[in-house]
Each structure stands twice: as structure tokens, then as C-alpha cells.
């Protein structure tokens, strides 16, 4: 298909979407439409999509076993001069004679796992803490207000500690492992999610439909669980996309600090990047591959998250 044809098709699809959206222009639908036109959102979605695809299909794409030291002898004989890209190893070999291309492909899955689990820990715990505090503060009477104030104070104190430092101190307690990285990065994100969730829920608590629900006698617990909570998740989910990018980068930093996964059997980009620091002057490519992969992936999630936030934020929309 020629590009002109593709463009024409795109315009048709867009016109169709516009016509449909004009009939039912909910906030979500409007923002989806806006995102479809934003180059930021599209590039972000493409990067994230590719990354997830590679993470899922990794074992079928990778040409070799990522842990097999197939060319170990060759690297050993070369005295740490690692062969670069060549026909049988597209990205060359690492310091133990393993195929870099396969390691990068397989590493995607582990990296995604670290990012997703860490973000989920922060998201779920933060939503519970922040949401619980907001619900108690709004409907719990005087006692509830006090609990909310105390909880949010604690959250503020935790927010006063830089994220990497918080993650580092938790990781130092747990000792180096993959679980450590996921838990410490995740726990370090709880305060942000708690703050966002509370803010989002308070904004919902004062809306008309909540007033309506109260006036027709819907029980308060039901209002919180069935009305306010699901409606306030939107902005927090957007935040989660941005946090995923941070989580991947922070995980790499923890690995660099020696708190990452010590098991060399499962390749992960952060660990690979940290390990490659030793060979930086002789074989910078070993660091550059995982670094570029991390940067591009984090960029993808950031672009997607920012585009989502922009399209949902009425204040930013005004400036168009």
C-alpha cells in the first residue's frame, strides 16, 4: 500500500471516529480520540506494545539459550576482548561467551516483570492506604478525620525521603535478590500512589452523583466501594504508567548498587547494565545494549503516560 493510500485510510478512520464520538462524547472517549491523533501517544504505545510482545514471545524469538556459555572458550582465549556483532551473534557475545541478542530478548520479560510487580505493589498498597484514608475522612465522622490526618501525615513523611533512598534502605534490609528489587521499588512508590488516590477520591466525593447517592439512602460503604473508588482510579492508573518507567530505571540503579538479582541465570536488563560497568572501557557495547533498551522502554511508558495524562487533563486541553 502506498503512503498516500494509508493516509487516506487514516483520515477515513479518523472521520469515522469523530462522527461516532460526536454522538457520545464522554470524557474517556474524547481523550481516546485525542490520543489517537497525538504522535506522543502513538509512539509510546508502539514502543510499549513491541516491548510487551518481545517479553511474551521472547523464548520463541531468541536464537540461543541465553544462559549457555556456548562461546565461552573463544572469549576466554581472547582475554576479555569480546566479539562484537557478527552473523551468528547479532549483538556479539558477553563476558562469559553468551549470545547477547538472546540475552536481550529474554531479558525483556524479566524487566517487564520487575517493573509491573513493583508498580502493582505500589499501586495496590497506595490505593488502599490513600483510598481508605479518604473514605474514613469523608464518611468516618470525627474519629475518621483524625485517622485520615494521621495516615496522610505519615505519607507526607515518607514522601520526604527521596525515592531511590527509600528503595535503597528497604533493599539493604532484605539483602540482594530479585524479590528485593521488586518489593523495595514498589514500597518506595506507595506514598505517591496514596497521595494521588486520596486526592482523586476527595475530588469525586464532592461531586453531584455522590450527593444524589447519599440522598436516596445508598449505604456509605457502598458509595465508597461502588461509586467513588472506581471513578477515581483513572488518574491513578495514568500515574502507574509513569511509575512503571521509573520502576525500571530504579531497579537498574539498585542492581548497580549491588542490591539486585545475584543470580546470573536469568538475564534482566538492569542487572546486565550493572554487570557491564566492569568492562566499560574495553567493551562499552555490553552496557550500551541494555542501557538503550531501558531508556527506550522507559521512554515508551513515559510518552504513553504523559499523553494519557494530557488528554485527560482539562486544564492542559484548554491551551490547544
Amino acid at each position: 500500500m502506498t503512503t498516500a493510500k494509508i493516509e487516506k485510510l487514516d483520515r477515513l478512520i479518523e472521520a469515522h471516529a469523530e462522527a461516532r464520538d460526536a454522538r457520545s462524547g464522554s470524557l474517556w472517549r474524547q481523550s481516546v480520540r485525542r490520543m489517537r491523533r497525538s504522535p506522543m501517544a502513538i509512539s509510546g504505545a508502539v514502543i510499549v506494545g513491541l516491548f510487551v510482545l518481545v517479553a511474551i514471545l521472547g523464548p520463541w524469538i531468541a536464537p540461543y539459550d541465553p544462559t549457555a556459555q556456548t562461546w565461552g572458550r573463544e572469549v576466554f582465549l581472547n582475554r576479555s576482548i569480546f566479539p562484537g556483532p557478527r552473523p551468528e551473534n547479532w549483538l556479539g557475545l558477553d563476558h562469559l561467551g553468551r549470545d547477547m541478542f538472546s540475552r536481550m530478548i529474554i531479558g525483556a520479560r524479566q524487566t517487564l516483570l520487575v517493573g509491573v510487580v513493583a508498580t502493582l505493589i505500589g499501586f495496590v498498597a497506595g490505593a488502599l492506604v490513600g483510598g481508605g484514608a479518604a473514605a474514613l475522612g469523608t464518611f468516618g465522622g470525627r474519629w475518621g478525620e483524625r485517622v485520615e490526618a494521621a495516615v496522610m501525615r505519615a505519607v507526607d513523611v515518607a514522601l520526604a525521603i527521596p525515592m531511590l533512598l527509600l528503595a535503597l534502605s528497604i533493599a539493604a534490609l532484605m539483602g540482594p535478590s530479585l524479590t528485593t528489587v521488586m518489593v523495595s521499588v514498589g514500597v518506595a512508590q506507595i506514598p505517591i500512589f496514596a497521595r494521588m488516590m486520596r486526592g482523586s477520591m476527595l475530588a469525586q466525593a464532592h461531586s453531584d452523583y455522590v450527593l444524589a447517592a447519599i440522598s436516596i439512602g445508598v449505604p456509605k460503604s457502598r458509595i465508597v466501594v461502588a461509586h467513588i473508588f472506581p471513578n477515581s482510579l483513572g488518574p491513578v492508573i495514568v500515574q502507574a504508567t509513569l511509575v512503571l518507567a521509573t520502576a525500571i530505571i530504579e531497579a537498574a540503579a539498585l542492581s548497580y548498587l549491588g542490591l539486585g538479582n545475584p543470580d546470573p541465570g536469568t538475564p534482566e536488563w538492569g542487572t546486565m547494565l550493572a554487570d557491564a560497568q566492569r568492562f566499560l572501557s574495553g567493551a562499552p557495547q555490553l552496557a550500551i545494549y541494555p542501557a538503550v533498551a531501558i531508556i527506550v522502554t522507559a521512554l515508551g511508558f513515559t510518552l504513553l503516560g504523559e499523553a494519557m495524562r494530557e488528554s485527560l487533563d482539562p486544564r492542559l486541553r484548554r491551551q490547544e
Binding site: 505519615a154 520526604a160 525521603i161 527521596p162 534502605s169 537498574a252 566499560l280 572501557s281 531508556i295 513515559t302
Partner: protein, 335 residues
């Protein structure tokens, strides 16, 4: 303004108390208890009992907390496991280096970030705007330690343009005044020291400034765009004020508020980032110390570091909040 200041000071003490509780909990949660981490490997059971007694670990928890608080206030943070020197001394010796590095990074971030963000907002939709926005997005996504290492390889090792490690070239005599070497050199008139220290500062500061720079550009751009659209800017324009006056008094003064807040928040992450940057350049600041402490599980050292960073972070943010009151009269009256 006074009431506002007092209120903020009260909030600060609450925050510090909360912080001490968190830190105490952390210390109690150390694997095998704190005494396990503070004893050498060949310690006997008697040693352990003696240490438990001296740390007051046999007291009720709240007594322990109060004693912990007392020790922290007296800056008695225990001894570093790796060097055997008091943690407070170790930190005090190294703090100037980290402050110098963080300040330098902040100067880069603010000095380039605010003008760039402002220009990007003014020239919205042009290639400059696009470059600034995409550059800042990428800047946030680069792992700091990787950037630092690459800068070192390229500019220090391959091109040999700049020194790669330490704060001064060896054999250079200098007089210590403030601990900030560039400043010291200027004060005492040892300009060769100042110059040399400056050269040593460039690469670490550039690496450390990557994230703050990106954030400052973005927040400045967003903030200026927000203000430019306000009614009072249009009014000022239509009553014929000079563009320079509008930019300075109407746009920048109002746009500065979120920027100042973000700068305060960034300082904390700068200290954290210093751990990564300093270890790459063997910069000899708190960051290098903590990197080592993490490698060797030196818990007293780690605790001291967390304490210093968290306290300075809280205090810095108080200063930022107070300056907010100066910049924005509305803050002073608002309850």
C-alpha cells in the same frame, strides 16, 4: 508571614518526629536486630549481651525509642563498621563534597533549564520546543549511573579532556575553608586549585544534573504556558505594557511558584543521585561513602546517611515553602 512561618515550623517538627519513628523502625527491623549488624563476625555471646545492654535493647520499646532519639539528637550515630570511625565524623568530612557537587548540578539545571523551558513555551510548536520536550523526556529515562559512566569513558578516558576521578589532581596543595574546593580556591586566592577543582567537577555535575535539568525544563515550560494564557497577561498586553515588563513581572513571577517547589523537591533526589554519580567518579563525598556502605552492609553508616538526607530534605522544603510565602502574597494569608 510570622504566623505562617510558625505554622510551618510546627509542621516541620511533626515531620521530623515521624521521620525518627520511621528510622527507628528501620533500625529495629535490621536482619537479626541491630546488634547483629554492629558486631564483628567473631563476636562471642558475651560481646553480644554487652552490646545489647549498651544499646539498651533490653529496655521496653518506648524507652529504646527515647534513647534512640537522644543519641540521634546528640549526633551519636554509632561507628562505621568498615572504617571504625564515628559515622557522624565520616559524614561531616564528606558532606562538603556532596554539597558542592549538588550545588553545581543544580546551577546547571536551573541555569539552563529555566531559560530553555521559557523559550520552549514562548516558541511553542517550533523545532526548539520539540527538541526541548523530547530532550527532557529522554533525560528522565537515562539511568544516571550509565550516563556518568559513559561521560567518563568518552570525555575522560577516550578524549582525555577532563579528569575522570577525585576532586583535585594529586599533589596539589590547598587550604580548607568551607570544604567546597572551588569556593575555597577563590577565597584563598589559590586560583589554580579553584580551576582544577572546577575541571574535576564538570563531568559529575553534568551527569547528576540530567534529571533535574529535564524536570526543570518541563515544569518551566508547563508553568509559563499556564500563565501566558491567563487573563491578567492579556490585560497587561492590551493596556500597552512593554513586553519585557509583562514577561518579568506578570509571567515569570507567577510562573516561578511551581518551579521553586520542584527545585526544592529535586534537591532530595540530587543527594540520592549523588550516590550513583560519586561512585562512578570516586568523588569522595557522602555518595561514595554510601555506595561503599551498601556494598559492605554497613548499617550504621547507612542509617546516618538516611537521617542526614531526610532531615536536610525536610528542612530544604521548609525553606522552599517559606520562599513561596515571599513570592506569593496569597500564601501568607491563606490558612
Amino acid at each position: 508571614m510570622l504566623r505562617y512561618t510558625v505554622k510551618r515550623l510546627l509542621q516541620l517538627s511533626v515531620a521530623l518526629l515521624g521521620l525518627s519513628l520511621l528510622l527507628f523502625a528501620w533500625f529495629k527491623a535490621l536482619p537479626g536486630g541491630p546488634e547483629n549488624q554492629m558486631l564483628p563476625e567473631n563476636a562471642t555471646l558475651d560481646d553480644r549481651a554487652a552490646l545489647r545492654e549498651s544499646l539498651g535493647l533490653n529496655e521496653p520499646v518506648w524507652v529504646q525509642y527515647l534513647e534512640f532519639l537522644q543519641r540521634v539528637v546528640r549526633l551519636d550515630l554509632g561507628s562505621s563498621l568498615s572504617s571504625g570511625r564515628p559515622v557522624a565524623t565520616e559524614l561531616a568530612d564528606r558532606l562538603p563534597a556532596t554539597i558542592e557537587l549538588s550545588l553545581a548540578a543544580m546551577v546547571i539545571a536551573v541555569g539552563i533549564g529555566i531559560p530553555l523551558g521559557y523559550l520552549a513555551a514562548r516558541k511553542r510548536g517550533t523545532w526548539l520546543d520539540f527538541a526541548a520536550v523530547s530532550g527532557s523526556l529522554i533525560g528522565i529515562c537515562i539511568p544516571v549511573f550509565f550516563l556518568a559512566a559513559m561521560l567518563k569513558v568518552v570525555f575522560a578516558q577516550e578524549l582525555a579532556l577532563l579528569p575522570s576521578t577525585f576532586r583535585l589532581s594529586s599533589g596539589l596543595q590547598y587550604t580548607d575553608v568551607t570544604g567546597l574546593r572551588v569556593l575555597d580556591g577563590l577565597i584563598t586566592g589559590e586560583f589554580n586549585v579553584a580551576g582544577d577543582a572546577f575541571l574535576h567537577l564538570i563531568l559529575p555535575a553534568v551527569a547528576l544534573s540530567s534529571i533535574p535539568l529535564a524536570v526543570v525544563v518541563r515544569i518551566t515550560r508547563a508553568s509559563v504556558l499556564d500563565v501566558i494564557g491567563e487573563d491578567y497577561v492579556r490585560t497587561a498586553d492590551s493596556k500597552g505594557l512593554k513586553p519585557a515588563v509583562i514577561r518579568g513581572r506578570h509571567v515569570m513571577r507567577n510562573a516561578m511558584l511551581p518551579i521553586v517547589t520542584v527545585i526544592g523537591l529535586l534537591l532530595g533526589s540530587l543527594f540520592a543521585g549523588a550516590v550513583l554519580t560519586e561512585s562512578v567518579f570516586s568523588f569522595g563525598g557522602v555518595g561514595s561513602f554510601v555506595y561503599q556502605a551498601t556494598q559492605e552492609r554497613d548499617y550504621p553508616a547507612l542509617m546516618g546517611f538516611i537521617l542526614v538526607i531526610a532531615v536536610s530534605y525536610v528542612v530544604l522544603n521548609l525553606i522552599v515553602d517559606l520562599s513561596y510565602g515571599l513570592l506569593d502574597p496569597r500564601v501568607r494569608v491563606r490558612k
